[in-house]
Amino acid sequence: MSSATVLNRRDFLKTSAAGSAALVIGFHLSPSAFAASAEDQEKKPVNPFDAWIRIAPDNQVTLIVGKSEMGQGIMTALPMILAEELSLDWKQVKIEQAPTNPKIYDHGTGGSGSVAGAYLPMRQAGAAAREMLVTAAAQHWNVNRDTCHPQNGGVLHGARKQFLTYGELAPAASKLPLPDFKTVPLKNSNNFTIVGHDQNRYEARAKSTGTAKFGIDSRPAGLVYAVVARCPVFGGKAAKFDATKAKAVPGVTDVFAIDAVGEGAFTAGGVAVVAANSWAAMQGRKALDITWDDGPNAKESTASLNQQFVDNASKPGKRTVDQGDVDAALSAAHKKVEAVYELPFAAHACMEPMNCTVQIGPDRAEAWIPTQAPQWAQDIIAGVTKLPHESVIVNTTLMGGAFGRRYQADFVMEAAQVAKAVPNKPVMVLWTREDDMQHDFYRPASYHRFEGAIDADRNIAAWKHFQTSTSIAAIWSKDGNEKPDQSEFATAAFIPYQTKNYRVEYTLAKSGVPRAWWRSVEHSSSGFVVECFIDELATAAGVDPLEFRLRMIGDDRKIPDATNPKEGKPLDTARLKGVLKLAAQKAGWGKPLPAGVFRGIAGYYSFESYTAGVAEVSAKNGELKIHRIVYAVDCGRPVNPNGIAAQVEGAAIYGLSAALHDAITINRGRVEQSNFDNYAMPRINETPKIEVHIVPSTEAPTGIGEPGLPVIAPAVCNAIFAATGKRLRRMPIRREDLA
């Protein structure tokens, strides 16, 4: 994406007021999942624009928005929504990255929130522009407004068949008053020709020709390259180092230490090697002689963490949900089911390793970053340089996957520190695969102890869920006043399955391993445990897994989101039942399968969307084959069905990777894995057929980047149970578990 020059609101208003050509409308997108609460946002300085539509006299329509394209398809979906209201070919809309402005609401992309947040504001802004352009046309022709019709990127006056492009009308339109967004008429959704129809990706050609530029492809003039040697033990640092051999490597120009920075950036610190090219920097680092002070976490291991989990599970935890009398119901249980589920740390493993390019001058800094959080990046660089934010330009590039990893600021902080030591030169700090894998912010490791009871009527008499985990909240809350129980349970804290006796308990497990948001965050573990346990209860009740779920969900009702009562959308059980039934129907649930093939099902609510999956597997002699996954998804009104399918297909593979292959294990305070030989990825030959069926909902659009993930592991494990009679409760699945 081209970088926009730094513009501020004053410039835009001035442009419009002076009547210089373009029509510009500023608006703001709704808060994303990562933004502070709506209340907090209201307290911020007033500057309501974080997105703009610009219609220039040359007829170029540009959407300027502060959202990052990481493959999830928002560079396609957002212009589609705008183009629908403006009645123009969406491919004519150019999309530009908004300048990073510290005074606006939220420049962050995550939480599957972009289309959900942008849908209504984008329509309102597009409709406002359309109304102004139609008025300008009517005034120009001196005709009744009703005879002017927006179409094909302009306004047609029917009777006299006159046509003016938006570009021609823009100067006059820009002088008109802006319609009230709350009352501006929106296009009738029955007349949609773009939204709801398959579109191919905006930047598909660039990504198929090697011309799309990712962060690691940034090449500002005079660029130098750096890598950082970081202590392999979390929390350790360089006690001393000898740079003699490193500096002797041809191409190496600088070697120096950088400090670890806590407080949100959470960098490891280390020793930077700067060189004329990436290879020389890597070779220079290999030649460094460093003595590490391993620090306080050198004794942590997966074994010690597991011991902590077991110890925690032997005592009651803090009750975060407590309905009825679970203990009494369990004692009196007609049938009792107990299960322990375990999930390891998981790495993001973006194909493009972390990188960040920064250039610091005396009164200006510029950066080229594959980031999900450009505003935070700007904060970091401003802090390091002591420059005012307006003088720090952050260019958000395309990125080779993100999955939450690029929401962090560590790789930005390091680059700012290195660039400060190499003034005026642009420096790219790039990470090798080993760096990326061993200095990630992992999906937390967790341990879940479930106890449930079935009564004589085959209903759920009790549901008790104890969880202990290395919570994300525990490293991200400054004063230690974290509420890990709120952030670690997701839908597990308000299950759709009815029971009078329902308890959820939590105990924090301490760890020095960094954790943060991984695709679907806490839903990745909650989806697994809830959908596996309900399946185990179905077996105990002697009821078909689909039928049991539907019966236990019961009547149509709305269940408040216990993790976010003020702002979270309630779980609509009708929609959850809808996707379960649709996935089952499309998969032929209940119909005969070829010999040796078995089915499993899972359904779940996350990011305000509903997803269900049916897995078809064979499991013989320790060999697992996944033949097909049939998905049903309800993410509200589909904007780009093709894009939705792609996101679900992708989330399935990402989730399968965790279910079948991925575990980050710790030994002596360090990650044992380093590259794709010991952290395997699914390959094309292991990919099942994936079908995605989209509910034709007319509800407001909700997220889809992440919701496909939580159901895949339980659907597969439930199918494995059907095939083998074995419950697989530990991720990733191991061959010996199947035998």
């Binding site: 999830q72 973006c350 593979i653």
Partner: protein, 158 residues
Amino acid sequence: MAINFTLNGKTQTVDVSPDMPLLWVLRDTLNMTGTKFGCGMALCGACTVHINGEATRSCITPVSSVSGKKVTTIEGISADGSHPVQQAWIAEDVPQCGYCQSGQIMSAVALLTKKSNPTDADIDDAMSGNICRCGTYQRIRKAIHRAAGQSAKSTSAA
């Protein structure tokens, strides 16, 4: 040390350390960033180029070993995205983040040069060295079949 090779049809001379991997010569010395870095150990396929027509992982290929040879990168398989494999990639909307796709396309082009009508098993064999973290494998398979079909059409029409 000066090393000569042909790059996308043009003679190229670089003066670099002979053990510098071709990947970094392409990306840093020549600013040809279409070929990507993913792992540095030939495990992921993002760095795939053609050397004398053979799909090769450039991250472990010392530049000295391509002396006198023909190197083709993603930038060289067409001037404008018109290669049938690229056209199939666009038509099937294969890329998501897009980072692995240069390598995927280079592997696919090499496959189709050897087997103009590959079976699914052929595709598995040729393409399992290329990781896609976004999970576009299903569409990659479809695009390869499509490109094979297009080539078959154009051959039979000739």
